[in-house]
């Protein structure tokens, strides 16, 4: 399975519990600093009521999670078999693409994403015919992503692309 488990999950739960406690406390503090608009007749409509309520619940849930994790012994090892590298590479590629939106024409950007994705994730080894077939399939993907889909949005849905 590809989720965290064992030792790593134990550590992650402890960290999340602590983060939630901090988040809840921070949210509570921010809520207390909000104006109450009591001069408009009642404090019962103050904007802080709901975030304050959520903050307390998050604080409690975080504390429960942390407490529960501490009370259980940490497993000796973890076996999650996650392929971190492709996942983080993919994430990096997506982030760069999204950061460039608005600076480069959208179609070019999507085509660039596809090419980079192909270079990083598609295996280009094997017999010659296999490579030609993969390249053809990828050309089709680029056509769909960079030409057909944006064209549909632009001319059928009448959306202006960034």
């Amino acid at each position: 399975m590809s989720e965290l488990n064992g030792r790593r999950l134990h550590a992650a739960d402890l960290a999340t519990g602590s983060i939630l406690i901090v988040l809840g406390a921070g949210m509570l503090a921010a809520s207390l600093a909000m104006p109450t608009y009591a001069d408009r007749g009642t404090v019962l409509t103050a904007p802080a009521i709901f975030p304050g309520f959520i903050a307390v619940v998050l604080l409690l849930l975080g504390a429960l999670l942390a407490l529960r994790t501490v009370r259980r012994p940490a497993p000796a090892s973890s076996a999650d078999g996650l392929a971190w590298r492709p996942m983080l590479t993919g994430l990096g590629l997506m982030t760069v693409t999204i950061a460039l939106i608005g600076h480069i024409d959208f179609r070019l950007l999507l085509a660039g994403f596809c090419v980079a994705f192909a270079a990083l994730f598609v295996s280009w080894r094997g017999p010659r015919e296999e490579i030609v077939r993969r390249a053809a399939a990828f050309a089709l993907v680029i056509l769909v992503v960079a030409v057909l889909v944006p064209m549909t949005f632009q001319h059928v849905f009448l959306i202006r692309l960034p």
Partner: protein, 498 residues
């Protein structure tokens, strides 16, 4: 009723039903494109049509897209619309086990049943239901929102409800960002106009389900969605399965209709409550989230039954029951239909016509959906490298098309990241999204409830619906505490290792 049928039955109608429903299925099935977007765009494109045909197109598109969302939920684990999040829970595991064809078929029959029964309910008891919905005051809305979060949190993470609730309340916390309506005070915005506008639901959903799924699949290192050999399932066997689950079907229809008719609460909440109820009633609750027939049927029947029901308040109170129904309501005004309490007196034919539209759309959806099942299954065989760029592109363009804000694309990425982290740590995604959906409702109704209680404290004890909701809420929490989560988790891990 019959007059309305005769008036509507024509070749033009048939043609419009077919293309609109098909268009809806495609929009719903493509990750990133949603029913609300499809309807908003189509409203502009149908100005020039005759009034009744324009409404017909919109209703069929609506039905098609809520159904289409179940396709991507089952095949890709990316719910096409928020209403299909519960469908993915059991539908996708089925597909992974090689039962994709069966899951698609069952979901289609469930949607067909829900849609038809919902349509009949619309015809028979629309005005009555709308009156009952008026009994839903601020207190009830608040409690319904909390029940929705707690039920979804508990149902999606059965062996660890704590994580489900954390996800749900995190969603509510995200919903507090932005300007609130009572005093126009910008909460947690730090001077940013984009934050003051709040985090929009659709980009958050597309990121949390879509982008995180893409990243998870890169991390899983598998070349294809499904390694197990795929089995074909004849339609007849789907029918038999449905009949075997008749109790679930009937319960889900009732829940779907009841939730759908409440103004402002739509298909998504209906699917969750129904899913939760099915699990509660099930003799084999452990099968849920691992490919349970009951779970899949409960979710899809309820969201389809809620859809016609969400049109009821739009027609008889001029208040939409869901976001897509809001667009539908606007289209009705444009085409000179005047929904409101007078419609049953002044224009009963129109209400009858809407029922027929729902029924036509539902039938067209089922026929085309079944025909499309086999070609759609091929998606599972496409290598991930080819699928990923296409889905990524749709996940960026879809949310952007809705409001044309670049900020929303950043939201997609941010929620992709949050979704990835949450998934890695075994948090369910659906309560997070439901929290964002319900946040505004819970917030305002909580403060209104306080105001009303302040004015008249006795009303706490005089509201039967509210007391029932409180009971449901407590039952869901304490049933969760009593179970020993440690044991079941250990068991599951052992089962996986084998």
């Amino acid at each position: 009723m019959i007059d309305a049928f005769l008036e509507l039955a024509s070749a033009t109608t048939l043609f419009n039903v077919l293309w609109a429903t098909l268009g809806g299925i495609v929009i719903g099935a493509l990750p990133g494109l949603t029913a609300t977007m499809g309807l908003a765009l189509m409203t502009s494109l149908t100005y020039a049509m005759v009034g009744q045909q324009a409404i017909l197109v919109l209703i069929c598109l609506y039905i098609g897209s809520i159904y289409g969302g179940s396709r991507s939920a089952i095949l890709l684990n990316i719910p096409g619309t928020p209403a299909n999040a519960a469908t993915a829970l059991d539908g996708h595991p089925m597909a992974r086990n090689g039962m994709g064809h069966r899951a698609l078929g069952l979901a289609t029959l469930a949607s067909l049943t829900g849609g038809l029964i919902g349509g009949v309910a619309l015809a028979l008891i629309a005005p009555l239901l709308a009156e009952l919905a008026l009994g839903f005051g601020s207190t009830e809305y608040f409690l319904l929102g909390i029940v929705g979060i707690i039920v979804a949190g508990r149902m999606t993470a059965a062996d660890d409800p704590l994580k489900g609730w954390i996800a749900g309340f995190l969603g509510l916390a995200i919903a507090t960002v932005g300007q609130e309506t009572m005093h126009a005070y910008p909460r947690f915005s730090y001077g940013s106009l984009d934050l003051a506008a709040g985090i929009a639901l659709i980009p958050a959903m597309v990121g949390a389900f879509g982008i995180s799924e893409l990243l998870m699949s890169l991390g899983s290192g598998k070349a294809r969605m499904v390694d197990a050999p795929m089995q074909a399932t004849p339609l007849l066997s789907n029918f038999r399965d449905m009949i075997r689950r008749k109790v679930t079907v009937i319960r889900s229809c009732i829940i779907g209709i009841a939730i759908g008719v409440i103004p402002g609460v739509g298909e998504d909440v209906a699917a969750w409550i129904s899913y939760g109820a099915a699990r509660r009633a099930s003799k084999t609750p452990d099968e849920f989230t691992k490919g349970s027939d009951d779970g899949l049927i409960a979710a899809e029947t309820a969201n389809s039954a809620a859809l016609p029901s969400a049109i009821i308040p739009a027609l008889t109170l001029a208040v939409p029951g869901s976001a897509p129904a809001a667009v539908l309501l606007a289209a009705m005004f444009i085409h000179n239909v005047r929904p409101g309490p007078m419609i049953m007196i002044e224009n009963p034919d129109f209400v009858a016509a809407v029922c027929w539209m729902v029924i036509f759309g539902t039938i067209a959806m089922a026929v085309m959906g079944l025909a499309l099942s086999r070609p759609l299954l091929l998606v599972l065989k496409v290598p991930r490298e080819f699928l990923t760029p296409v889905i990524f592109c749709l996940c960026l363009l879809g949310p952007y098309a809705l409001t044309q804000r670049v900020f929303d694309i950043y939201v997609v990425l941010a929620f992709g990241l949050l979704g990835l982290a949450m998934r890695l740590m075994r948090y369910p995604m659906a309560p997070l999204i439901l929290g964002i959906i319900l946040g505004g409702m819970v917030d305002q109704n909580l403060r209104r409830m306080l105001q009303l209680i302040d004015r008249d404290p006795t009303q706490v004890f005089t509201r039967p619906i509210a007391l029932v909701l409180v009971a449901v809420c407590l039952a869901a929490i304490f049933a969760g505490v009593r179970r020993r989560p440690r044991n079941s988790q250990v068991k599951r891990q052992q089962a996986r290792k084998q």
